[in-house]
Symmetry: D2
């Protein structure tokens, strides 16, 4: 099954809402990205464990990076070479699962380093 | 390494606090048990995934049962044939991880059935 | 959506194969049960983590118990008050995921104790 | 607690063995990296779930990236600004947990794309 790309109406309604919640476009790709900072590895892993269930339910999986308390997620749909409705669904689900984790807005810095820059992180 | 059993002072301080939070003695065993009702499987599994990390950190593992949104935990220390300090630590950690999940106080009913008795559970 | 119960043809073909692989009927319920003994908690948890994904994909969840290296699974379909095609699917998937774990055939003993009876288990 | 950096003897014994098994130095950092290709998301996630337990046991966590069947791990110790004995321990543990997954030797390509380049991957 090939997913159709996100049609223009969905782009103009769904994507602005996702941008408001902290998702950002990825330069050079039709993809969206969001970075969360959790309280520690346990909370980050609890989020990832629930997001993995959601991904499996949708049969649509994220590209994601974790370093201790950071989870850095990129969503796109390989089938259609860009964003599809599945990305919107998974993004919304992840937003609910992330709860009150801090959203990191600087996507230019190396995220691997984000977990090093705060004192008191276990 | 064999864990020493919980000494009398710890029993009289730690156990009453755990009983207040919903842990109950297990008839016929020196063990404690608590049953949580989560919003669905995803929330229950997120709890279990974080509790598994905590158990591995302590090198002390629960006996636990899950049916959809129910997680039914029994703690004891096989090494010392009863409760030890590790059980108190793991119980306290699980209490934190369970957040606002509902605590089930009726331990006599079959817990496998608890998830069937509420309407609107997915 | 209500699942239909397993029809007679499926019962006479699917269930005997599951019984051969170590699933057993549950006395007094239209359900099947299988107990695996893994090498330790890590291997048991790896199995459960993959089985949780499979359950979520099917939107059909097991009743399961874990104590260290033991995973004791009961499958039935609450919707239809007994076995359905989903139980056969999840049982087959779990059999693949369990790999070479030892299957415990004595379902009468308390499974909580199984992990205590073998030397050298971490 | 600050971990001491890996001393010279350990570097000359442990690191060559890790390089043989597919770990590679990371340009510009005192870190090692390995990329595994699993059969699908479920197998990759089973590996990550067990590796998360191992990381928590060591209280030492990887930087890791996952895209469907790919797990791309970088190990270093922030405390000491480079490799420590904990990285060697976690690398060895991950090698055991990865079982027969394919090791990807080309670390220059974007790993996010690795999962797209093989036919028949679910």
């Amino acid at each position: 099954m090939t997913m159709p790309p996100l049609h223009d109406d969905a782009r103009s309604t769904a994507l602005p809402l996702l941008m408001e919640s902290g998702w950002q476009p990825v330069p050079g790709r039709d993809a969206i990205r969001k970075i969360w900072r959790f309280k520690g590895f346990s909370e980050a892993w609890g989020f990832m464990s629930r997001a993995a269930l959601a991904a499996e339910r949708l049969n649509h999986h994220p590209e994601w990076f974790n370093a201790f308390n950071i989870v850095d997620v990129t969503l796109t749909t390989h089938d259609c070479g860009g964003l599809s409705d599945l990305d919107v669904k998974l993004a919304n689900r992840m937003d609910k699962l992330a709860g009150s984790a801090v959203v990191e807005h600087d996507h230019a810095s190396r995220t691997a380093c984000l977990c090093e820059t705060r004192p008191g992180q276990g």
